[in-house]
């Protein structure tokens, strides 16, 4: 018997098949619009574990059913809340999500920088490792300008001088101007910075009185050698990499948004 399509449709079996297929397609279509909540073994395992860490023992069958029911109840409420867009404009949720995302970005941490990378970072950030000018001096105190000038004449002639009693420090080693201003006052620091010589400086005055200084060393502002700051360089590079990763990620998604800012004049 030849196969005639018109005859085939009339066959009861084929007719059943066609109707079945149509029903199946319709059912599939309907289910796509109806959200599913599936209680999987993995989910129940997770709930059981959480229960155990909080109570110290695994849930029995009744308890497991009860915490599963509770989870289901919360999941439905949670989804309804999302559907009602209750999460938008909620500052707590907003911040929490930002934090979660930042954690995820931060977790993609690359391998420790190599020595060469550290050195390169150091070379391109030399300003971060610069020390200001530093001074080392022996300090002699006098209550009057005459006594200080007289002591300076004697010191220049090679005589020993003692200075008058003072609570200010005698020996000052490698202090920067900020520290010197804090100990001797800002006027003192300005006069010291202005003097260009080393050795016995012209007499300096301050709120305390008159100061004769034997300036033994003036260290210029300098960049600390890499070897002495490598640990700090490592910390700095790590911090800057984290910052960069966050920014890069932000830039990569930023283009998807049309941003309208009324606070910026175009």
């Amino acid at each position: 018997m030849p196969l005639n399509p018109a005859n085939m449709i009339r066959e009861p079996l084929v007719g059943f098949l066609i109707v079945g297929l149509l029903l199946f397609a319709a059912d599939h279509q309907l289910n796509q619009n109806q959200p599913t909540i599936e209680i999987t073994p993995a989910l129940q395992q997770r709930l059981a574990l959480l229960w155990e860490t909080q109570t110290g023992q695994p849930p029995d069958a009744g308890e497991l059913r009860s915490i599963t029911d509770n989870w289901l109840r919360e999941e439905i409420l949670y989804r309804e809340a999302l559907a009602m867009k209750l999460d938008s404009d909620d500052e707590i949720i907003r911040r929490r999500l930002v934090q979660k995302l930042e954690f995820i970005i931060d977790e993609v941490s690359p391998a420790l920088p190599t020595d060469a990378e550290l050195r390169q970072y150091y070379q391109t950030h030399l300003e971060d490792y610069r020390l200001p000018e530093r001074y080392s001096f022996i300090h002699y105190f006098y209550a009057t300008p005459e006594a200080a000038e007289e002591a300076r004449r004697r010191a220049l002639a090679g005589e020993t001088i003692n200075g008058e009693p003072t609570l200010l420090n005698r020996a000052n080693i490698s202090k920067n101007l900020r520290q010197i201003a804090a100990s001797f006052g800002p006027d003192f620091a300005v006069q010291l910075a202005d003097s260009e010589a080393t050795g016995w400086l012209p007499v300096i005055h301050s709120q305390y009185g008159y100061h004769l200084l034997n300036l033994t060393q003036r260290l210029p502002a300098e960049v600390v050698p890499f070897e002495n700051v490598s640990q700090k360089v490592l910390e700095d590079i790590t911090r800057s990499q984290t910052e960069r990763r966050r920014n890069e990620w932000l830039e990569s998604v930023r283009d998807q948004y049309r941003i309208i800012r009324s606070d910026e004049v175009r």
Partner: protein
């Protein structure tokens, strides 16, 4: 000046190889702790020069980091490492998001986290730690967003740890790792001659109703105990001292420094011990062997004295913090202040032959931000995000009135101060030299400015402009913290010398605070002894004339031409009686400047609070010198 019969009990000889020599006359020699195998300060660091006339070093012995249970809740994530880096001049990020730097690095620093629950709250926020599963751990990693707020969570934790569920937050591994890190950070940052660190912690004991009995324990060497002794073992300070005695016998030398006696409701200097028994000689020995110092000033107020205890001291009403610690309940002044304690101690000595309150003074901050506080004009609070803005610390009004109708937040922090520092006179900036200065009480306290103060007593002090003033003063008497005994009829001579902090206001006056047991009764008196701006002390009232220093409360500008950079004098006690027991300590007063609360208000565009002092007279205190009849 001749006083033939004056006997100097020299302290210098006491500071020797035993390394923890207390400063005591021969009758108390048994109280001298003799920790074995302590390094000698004179030989411990051959490369570090030592000045026999001693120099002033400034530091902070009371610093909390992320390991303290309360600091963590306040938002502090700075580690002990960060704290030491900050003290050396580095920058630290405040939990509130701004940067902090000291105007001048400190010379020494000790991180002193609470021993109980050390590291625990940080672990509660770490999902990898078992403690994070506790019910109170919920949201610990995100405290800005817990519904009850940081304060609310703090109170919940306090309730739990004061209940019989206190063990729930203990994890031995967490405790051990926090303590080991504390020790390692202190040792790592120690740079002999330049920057000294001490291993330390806080013993956070209290009475049943929040009577504050807190102490900081400071270790001399590079080794600490396996774990610090905490209130979880006992709240009785005697048990702490016994533990310290045991450690000392094993070669681990330490001392304890009580603080916030002002918040102890009379318990810190009570005449009864923790169990209610009257004090006795063995209690005094135990206490003095372990507690040569007290912290007289810090952010939570000053504990020198109280107006109710010292009605004739016009400067007694200074930075009074009237509450029991961690509450807003009143703390009784009686038994809570240092000056009265010194008097009680002498009274006990005279009547019963022992003195449990013979201590020197330091100040410190008690910061919970890992950072000592800056000057009044750069105040960043003490408790992280709890008081990181003027409205939070109630120096300006809240945006909206509180539930009780108040304009300002109701909070104990309103009675707090800006800062506090410890000063020592030591041969060099090393653990050995600075610790030994603690032991001989050659220490002083300041409210923030780095005021230096020298104080000596002896029969025949050099004149104030003697070119060898200091070496002669050491040779002729005892420095602050020392003891003199005399049979002479005339007063010993007191050499007092102070210099202002170059970046703060000038000095207004030098004072001597005298306490004496007269006819069996304690008495006290404040003498002005040197005045700035050419003023002369009135011999009848013992007061300087007003030097006219003023503060412009709209700009905080001070009168630049007032005050002294340096004040010094040799003073004799006009009321001296050689048959009386007496103590003397120095109080140095600066010219008035704006208080932190005034700076806050002006910068925020508000009037300073009318119920606060608008200005403050920053000050320094020397440790006392005790003068006793020779045959007492």
């Amino acid at each position: 000046m001749k006083i033939k019969n004056l006997i100097v009990v020299s302290l210098l000889s006491a500071l020797t190889a035993c390394g923890g020599g207390t400063v005591d006359s021969s009758k108390e020699a048994s109280a001298t702790p003799a920790a074995k195998s302590q390094p000698d300060a004179a030989t411990a660091h051959p490369g570090v020069p030592r000045d026999p006339e001693r120099q002033a070093y400034f530091g902070d012995l009371h610093v909390h980091t992320m390991y303290s249970f309360d600091a963590f809740i306040f938002g502090t994530t700075a580690s002990p490492d960060d704290a030491y880096t900050f003290a050396k001049g580095g920058t630290l990020r405040h939990p509130g998001g701004f940067d902090m730097t000291l105007p001048q690095p400190l010379d020494f620093y000790a991180v002193t986290d609470h021993a109980f629950y050390m590291g625990a709250l940080r672990a509660m926020a770490d999902p990898a730690q078992a403690l994070s599963k506790h019910e109170l751990s919920q949201g610990m990693d995100d405290l800005d967003n817990v519904p009850e707020g940081r304060r609310g969570r703090f109170n919940k934790i306090i309730q739990l740890i004061r209940s019989d569920r206190k063990d729930e937050l203990l994890d031995p591994a967490v405790f051990k790792s926090a303590w080991d890190d504390t020790i390692a950070a202190a040792n790592r940052h120690y740079d002999p001659g330049t920057f000294t660190t001490f291993i330390g912690y806080e013993f956070t004991a209290s009475g049943d109703a929040f009577e504050n009995l807190h102490r900081n324990v400071i270790f001399r060497g590079e080794k600490g105990p396996d774990l610090p002794y905490s209130r979880l073992a006992s709240n009785d300070p005697e048990t702490l001292w016994n533990w310290m005695d045991e450690l000392r016998a094993q070669g681990i030398e330490s001392l304890a420094i009580p603080h916030n006696s002002n918040g102890s409701d009379g318990m810190m200097f009570s005449l009864q011990d923790f169990t209610g028994k009257p004090l006795d000689a063995s209690y005094a020995d135990l206490r003095m062997r372990n507690e040569p110092l007290v912290e007289i000033t810090q952010i939570k107020g000053t504990s020198d004295t109280h107006p109710a205890l010292s009605p004739n001291d016009e400067w007694a009403n200074f930075e009074i913090m009237p509450y029991k610690i961690a509450t807003m309940q009143a703390s009784r002044p009686d038994g809570s202040y240092v000056r009265q304690a010194l008097l009680r101690g002498m009274e006990l000595e005279e009547k019963q032959g022992f003195n449990p309150f013979k201590f020197g003074f330091i100040g410190s901050s008690d910061t919970h931000n890992a950072s000592s506080d800056g000057p009044e004009d750069d105040h960043w609070g003490k408790t992280g995000k709890i008081d990181d803005s003027p409205a939070e610390r109630a120096s300006i009004p809240m945006k909206e009135p509180g539930e009780d109708g108040s304009r300002y937040r109701t909070i104990a922090n309103t009675t707090w101060s800006a800062a506090g520092f410890a000063g020592v006179w030591a041969e060099s900036n090393t653990r050995e030299d600075i610790y030994d200065a603690f032991r001989r009480r050659e220490t002083f306290a300041t409210t923030g400015p780095r005021i230096k103060v020298r104080f000596f007593a002896g029969a025949d002090m050099p004149e104030p402009n003697d070119p060898r003033l200091i070496s002669r003063a050491y040779a002729a008497g005892v420095p602050m913290g020392g003891e003199l005994s005399t049979e002479g009829k005339t007063s010993p001579e007191f050499l007092v010398w102070a210099a202002q902090d170059a970046s703060s206001a000038g000095l207004q006056r030098l004072q001597i605070v005298k306490g004496v047991i007269r006819n069996g009764k304690p008495e006290e008196k404040v003498f002005d002894i040197a005045c700035s701006d050419g003023g002369v002390v009135d011999p009848a009232t013992h007061r300087c004339p007003d030097n006219g220093a003023s503060v412009d409360l709209t700009t905080c500008r001070i009168s630049a031409d007032k005050g002294a950079a340096d004040l010094r004098t040799v003073w004799r006690d006009p009321e001296f009686n050689s048959s009386e027991n007496a103590f003397y300590y120095v109080r140095v007063l600066e010219n008035p400047t704006c208080r932190w609360s005034t700076w806050d208000a002006i910068r925020s565009g508000y009037e300073p609070r009318p119920d606060y002092p608008a200005t403050i007279q920053e000050r320094a205190w020397s440790s006392p010198i005790w003068v006793a009849p020779a045959d007492a």
